[in-house]
């Protein structure tokens, strides 16, 4: 015979209590005894309990009483039934069991004699089909796992277990049926856990003692989870439920694990919490971060509490662990969760869910930005290849490889504006942190670090991969602007294969390559800044500022260009939309702040604004006007002028369609302004690539917007259909011709090579003392160029940081003339120990160097000649490091981190509904 005592604990729960009491009293299995506990309710809860159970069956407790304590209060007063099996049925005030719930639970208890704790299936109070829990388990990180998907509806999918029961590590206290002897044996719920995880702790102890805990899927209760969802204030503690939940989660794990497992868990959780705190900070959830770290601290800094709790659980802990262990969340779940988390973060969806959602009420699925790429169902491969952007990228990669494979002949990558790429990421970081160096060195160093420290790989991907990367970024960035996918594909592929892009690759202009890849992102962010909601717009402004700083570091001209456009935009939009002016100001000020000292140098030498990252490589001041109009910057690697004719024809034709007139006007305005700036730059012997890329972007956006009209025409049939095909043909002629010409001529027509030797002879590199230099002489006709290498080949960005020394130039010239005299002494006194002449060695130069008494020839071969000073070489003392440089580096790092955080997608902003139900990463209800 069973004897069941129902214990209903209420705390400010009048909203639900009436229904709960009706449900409890309406059970098909009659209750033997009912007890109500009122934890100092300020509403009608006490009255309702008294009405239902009678005044003798209701205990009143203070407001701060926890759930466990309330139950203990009842059990101490409750006399034992002499016969039969005695059960306690714990009911929350917001938990209404179905009429047959108790009957089913008891039936299950009879079927499984070893089951001492049973719990019903919990469904949502309001949405009664929504599954909340079917027994819970825990991960070693303390995360509470229900094993359910978010917002899973109960269609019996979890009920197929034999007999309608499933083994669980734990069941919720809402509707928990406990055998009284077990309650007494285990001393019941731990009152030290007033709110969360008391159920887990109790069931864990029961499991460890060899008992069985069952979730009975045939029994159902409806649960409002009022405390977790913050439908009511909790009085048991002043802390935020999230922090409490995290603290008790850690506490329960550490109290119940055996010693060594506990130590491991402690280390692991400490590390994990640090990481999560960092991620929360990045996700701009400082409150979450604080809760996370405080919860950890409160567990770790109260070892006495933990020791007492462990002492109380000593009995079965070690032996019972083997029984509990299989019920934990499998480790694969953690991996999957990390993957989901990263994916969510990338897709810009919201908060990090650290402690485990309490149940299935997740946020409603929203249309996220990354949906198209990342959130489709299906396998990774299928998702990748079914996506137009991915196919476009792959096609462009194929085109690039076809054009470049002849380039790769072994050796160093370099030529044009690119010095032979040597060294690793550490060298670049050393260059940047050692002394004032152009800021793009830091960007390249960071990229190289991502590429496992290989600078050549980073540069090759950035420079040779400029075309596919530009295509991909153009495709992704125009998602918001151009809904019609074929038009976007056309835009992306045309943009990627612009004469500017192929010219950039052929001449090794890594700066322009970076800007070309970033340009569509600028356009996309700029539209958000100008037209988005205030919060995303402000965030986009920070992001645009950061990316603009990166682009400006590579190509300073970019900033001037964007500044003019930004000023124009501020004039036109500033009055119309609130905050646009400030956002634009942020965008334009961030680069200045981040690049401050370096920009100062630029201001001092305005001519340098026309230069870009890498070696100076001026353009042709006589660039014909028709080249400028066809967006062709001239020089190696650019197709003939007719290649872009199709683009221009379609762009002009699109003007006849009267749609999107504002954007079309802006696009053409940018295009014409870009060509104008390109003209000025070209006439000043600059390379007009970047302004022309701007112009092309404007043109392409203005044109692609009309793309859907082509589809409409095609659908219309007749001569319109033929016209649509003709337009498509002309439009795609430009990228196809560009790709074909590129593959046909190959990329090896430009100065870029991938077979360069290390410019410094290995003998000189080997024998140079620190600080000693090698003069590298190269004769071209009657002129001579030289550079001084300090023991190794120059790194990217090193050349710009150095200033020419007229005395060295004079001494080198004198040495090369063979006039004798003190030129060699002058060089030796400046630390020059070697003179290297790469092939072909000019005989005159060789004779001159041979005739210099202060030099001795070390080697002369087909590839190079090397001479060494025989007179004493004095290494000039290294200039003392500028102390302000170190401070600036720290400052710059902090500023970059700050801007990153401000630009990162925030956690809460995307929530459209009023924040009524803040998710609490916690638990249970009550009190």
């Amino acid at each position: 015979m069973h004897s069941v005592t129902a214990i209903v604990v209420a705390h400010d729960g009048a909203r639900w209590l009436r229904e709960t009491l009706t449900a409890v009293l309406g059970q098909t299995r009659r209750l033997d005894r009912v007890v109500g506990v009122d934890n100092g309710s300020r509403d009608d809860s006490g009255k309702l309990l008294t009405q239902a159970f009678g005044p003798n069956a209701v205990v009143s407790m203070p407001r701060s009483t926890g759930f466990a304590q309330a139950v203990h209060e009842v059990t101490t007063r409750l006399p034992h039934e002499p016969q039969g099996t005695e059960w306690l049925w714990l009911i929350h005030d917001d938990c209404a069991p179905e009429p047959r719930a108790l009957e089913t639970l008891l039936w299950a208890a009879e079927q499984h004699q070893d089951a001492v704790i049973l719990g019903p299936k919990l469904r949502d109070w309001l949405d009664r089909k929504l599954l909340l829990e079917l027994g819970v388990t825990v991960a070693r990180s303390g995360r509470r796992e229900t094993g359910l998907e978010p917002r899973e509806y109960d269609q019996g999918q979890h009920d197929q277990d034999i007999g309608g029961v499933r083994d669980a590590l734990s069941v919720s206290t809402a509707g928990m049926l406990i055998r009284r002897d077990v309650w007494d044996e285990l001393s019941g719920l731990d009152p030290r856990l007033p709110l969360f995880r008391d159920d887990l702790d109790f069931c864990w102890r029961a499991r460890a003692a060899g008992h069985r805990v069952l979730a009975v899927t045939a029994a159902t209760a409806y649960h409002a989870e009022a405390a977790t969802r913050r439908r009511r204030r909790i009085a048991a503690s002043d802390d935020h439920p999230r922090r409490l939940a995290r603290r008790y989660a850690l506490f329960v794990i550490m109290a119940n694990l055996p010693f060594w497992a506990m130590l491991w868990s402690m280390v692991r959780n400490t590390f994990g919490s640090m990481v999560r705190t960092g991620l929360f900070l990045v996700a701009k959830q400082p409150a979450y971060a604080l809760d996370e770290i405080v919860a950890l601290g409160s567990v770790l800094f109260h070892p006495g509490k933990l020791r007492r709790a462990r002492k109380a659980r000593k009995k079965n802990r070690k032996n019972g662990y083997q029984l509990v262990k299989p019920l934990f969340t499998p480790p694969s779940a953690a991996v999957r969760r990390i993957f989901d988390m990263v994916r969510g973060q990338l897709a810009g969806s919201g908060p990090l869910d650290s402690a485990g959602r309490h149940h299935a009420v997740g946020r409603a699925p929203e249309e996220e930005e990354g949906d198209e790429l990342l959130n489709d169902e299906g396998s990774f491969l299928r998702r990748t290849f079914a996506n137009a952007g991915a196919r476009l990228f792959l096609a462009l990669v194929v085109v690039t490889v076809a054009a470049h494979w002849r380039l790769v002949t072994g050796g160093l990558l370099g030529g044009g504006a690119l010095v032979p790429v040597v060294g690793g990421a550490a060298d670049l970081w050393g260059l940047y942190t050692g002394d004032w160096a152009p800021p793009y060195v830091a960007v390249l160093a960071a990229l190289s670090t991502l590429f496992l420290g290989k600078v050549w790989l980073a540069v090759a991907v950035l420079l040779l991969g400029c075309v596919p990367l530009a295509g991909l970024s153009a495709y992704l960035a125009t998602r918001r602007l151009i809904p019609y996918t074929p038009a976007r594909v056309w835009l992306a592929v045309t943009y990627a294969l612009l004469p500017v892009a192929t010219g950039v690759v052929a001449t090794g202009r890594i700066g322009s390559a970076v800007v070309i890849v970033l340009l569509p992102v600028y356009a996309s962010l700029a539209t958000v800044v100008l037209s988005g909601d205030p919060r995303p717009a402000r965030r986009a402004a920070w992001g645009l500022g950061l990316l603009l700083a990166i682009g400006t570091a590579f190509v300073p001209l970019l900033y001037a260009f964007v500044a003019i456009l930004g000023a124009l935009a501020a004039l036109s939009f500033g009055g119309v939309r609130r905050g646009v002016g400030i956002s634009l100001a942020i965008t334009l000020i961030v680069p200045i702040v981040l690049l401050l000292p370096w920009l100062g140098e630029l201001v001092a030498q305005p001519a340098r604004i026309l230069r870009e990252a890498g070696l100076p490589l001026p353009g042709d001041p006589r660039l014909p006007p028709e080249a400028l109009l066809t967006l062709n910057p001239g020089g190696p690697g650019t197709p003939p002028l007719w290649a872009t004719a199709g683009l221009l024809a379609v762009a002009l034709g699109a003007l006849l369609l009267r749609r999107h007139q504002l954007i079309v006007a802006i696009g053409w305005g940018v295009a014409i302004f870009g060509v104008l700036v390109a003209t000025v730059v070209a006439r000043l012997s600059g390379w007009p690539g970047v302004p022309l890329a701007f112009a092309a972007t404007g043109l392409l956006v203005a044109t692609a917007l009309a793309g859907h009209r082509v589809a409409e025409f095609r659908a219309a049939g007749g001569f319109r259909k033929a016209g649509a095909w003709l337009v498509a043909l002309v439009a795609f002629a430009t990228p196809v011709a560009a790709a074909g010409l590129w593959i046909w001529t190959g990329a090896h027509h430009g100065p870029l090579r991938w077979n360069l030797r290390d410019p410094i002879p290995s003998l000189a590199a080997l024998k140079s003392e620190p600080g000693e230099g090698t003069v590298l002489l190269r004769s071209a006709g009657e002129t001579l160029t030289y550079t001084v290498l300090r023991g190794r080949a120059p790194l990217i960005g090193e050349a710009e940081a150095r200033t020419a020394d007229g005395a060295v130039t004079a001494a080198v010239a004198g040495l090369a003339s063979g006039r004798g005299g003190t030129d060699a002494q002058a060089l030796a006194s400046r630390g020059i120990a070697f003179v290297a002449v790469p092939a072909p060695v000019d005989p005159e130069l060789r004779r001159a160097l041979d005739s210099e008494p202060a030099l001795t020839r070390l080697s002369l071969s087909r590839v190079a000649g090397l001479w060494r000073m025989v007179i004493p070489v004095t290494v000039p003392p290294p200039s003392p490091p500028d102390p302000s440089h170190r401070y600036w580096l720290w400052g710059q790092g902090v500023l970059v981190a700050l801007v990153l955080i401000l630009a990162a997608p925030g956690a809460r902003a995307a929530e459209p509904e009023p924040v009524a139900e803040e998710q609490v990463s916690g638990e249970r209800v009550l009190v």
Partner: protein, 469 residues
């Protein structure tokens, strides 16, 4: 305006107008093509010269620095233990050196270095080495070429000196008529600083009748000179250093006198080659009839008798080939007892030339194989003031022989300074000294070398792009 924008063609018209304006702007602003003037090398006075006169025993050593460069400077002549300091540019210094002396070292700095020229000339009237023999004093270098008879017909002595502060590893290569001669004694000579050595080539290799000799150092620098003694009644002289291998070689300084003329050509590369020979004579430049070209197998030396071809005229030989060659010429005098002299491929005298040792019976043979040239000639007598300079015009593709009469005060010797005038084509030259004795003509010759007056300082820029090919 509104109607214009709302018109279907309004926008197009606006854009076209804007594009036309941009095009116009770009068109108007397009600069005229500018011919970029390549910067020219700048002449700079040579600031220091070091030269060594080999085996001066019994010879006269002459040294002179042409006037012209201002400023301090001095030249130091180290003759054994004795030191002579010269500080007067334009004044010829001569000294007869006692037999068996060590090589004479001349070092000059400053104004005295600019154009310092030195030579040694000796005269033997009897014995195996009978004849006039002379050679320019040699600057230390890393390699030197000589072309002439081989050890089988001449007693050849290679004089090596290391006057540098570092030791020198010397090796030499012999290109004989049959090809490259391999001998292990030709390598591994180490000359300590200050060491002189005379190598008898017959002790190293005996067989070659003709040879091209390439003396090289793998470390350090040496001065190298070769003395050839053909034997009793056949004459003796020094082989002048020949121009480094090139596909076009000019052998200047063939005197207009009777006697055998034998051309030696060495092709040191790995490729057989055919050399076209043209003679630049008094009245024009000709391919020699029947001797238009000569085949030189790779790595060997070939001779060609040009006696009838040149026919006793003053000449220069213009050799062109596909592969680089080195060339020299043997000049044989007339008489019962003959004497020989050697000239060799030489560079053009763009920066001028200085002849240290001229005397009675000295001739200059100047050739302008490519374009007309005007050369200013300045004689510097040993004593007294120099006479006013004269101009010599050499028409294009012609050779001109100038007999030099000693100026007043130059009876004991004088020097000659040649300076091609601006606008001249390349000038090549040689100096020949003849002395007629009853037993036969004595003679010596040398191609004119570029004076160490000026060095061309190339336009030099500090450019980080130098790391790229």
């Amino acid at each position: 305006m509104r109607r214009l924008i709302e018109n279907r063609f309004g926008m197009l018209a606006l854009v076209l107008i804007a594009l036309a304006a941009v095009y116009g702007g770009a068109f108007v602003s397009r600069p005229a093509p500018v011919r970029v003037e390549q910067p020219k090398p700048v002449r700079a006075a040579v600031a220091s010269v070091s030269t060594v006169c080999p085996d001066p025993g019994g010879a006269t050593v002459s040294a002179v620095t042409p006037p012209g460069v201002e400023g301090p400077g001095e030249a130091t002549v180290l003759d054994g233990e004795k030191t002579v300091v010269l500080d007067q540019p334009g004044t010829l210094w001569q000294k007869s050196i006692a037999k068996g002396a060590d090589p004479v070292r001349i070092g000059a700095t400053g104004a005295m270095a600019s154009g310092l020229e030195a030579g040694r000339t000796s005269k033997e009237t009897s014995g195996a080495a009978r004849g006039l023999a002379g050679v320019r004093c040699v600057e230390p270098g890393a390699d030197a070429w000589f072309v002439g008879p081989g050890p089988a017909v001449a007693d050849l002595t290679l004089h090596l000196s290391n006057v540098e502060a570092a030791p020198a590893d010397v090796f030499f290569t012999v290109y004989a008529g049959e090809g490259l001669v391999v001998t292990d004694q030709a390598t591994g000579m180490v000359l300590k600083p200050g060491e002189h050595r005379a190598v008898k080539l017959r002790k190293v290799i005996t067989s070659p009748l003709v040879m091209g000799l390439h003396v090289e150092t793998s470390r350090g620098r040496v001065t190298a000179a070769v003395e050839a003694v053909l034997g009793q009644g056949k004459g003796a002289d020094w082989l002048p250093a020949a121009a480094a291998p090139d596909t076009q070689v000019v052998v200047p300084g063939v005197p207009g006198s009777a006697g055998r003329r034998v051309l030696y050509i060495t092709a040191p590369g790995e490729q057989d080659t055919v050399v076209q020979v043209r003679a630049v004579l008094k009245d024009g430049s000709y391919a020699l009839k029947g001797r238009e070209d000569v085949k030189v197998p790779a790595g060997s030396t070939t001779t060609m008798d040009l006696t009838t071809g040149v026919g006793g005229q003053p000449a220069a030989l213009l050799l062109t080939s596909e592969a680089p060659i080195v060339a020299g010429l043997e000049i044989t005098g007339t008489g019962t007892l003959q004497d020989v002299a050697y000239t060799a491929g030489a560079p053009a005298l763009d920066l001028g030339s200085v002849v240290a040792d001229a005397r009675k019976g000295t001739r200059l043979v100047l050739s302008a194989p490519f374009g007309a040239a005007t050369v200013r000639l300045q004689l510097l007598p040993k004593e007294g003031d120099p006479p006013p300079p004269t101009q010599v015009v050499v028409p294009a593709a012609r050779t001109k022989e100038i007999r030099l009469n000693p100026p007043p005060g130059g009876e004991k010797g004088f020097s000659v300074v040649l300076q091609p005038q601006p606008g001249s084509g390349p000038v090549y030259g040689g100096r020949v000294i003849e002395e007629n004795t009853s037993l036969g003509q004595l003679l010596t010759a040398q191609p004119l070398a570029v004076a160490r007056t000026w060095a061309l300082v190339p336009p030099t820029t500090d450019n980080p792009a130098a790391v790229l090919p």
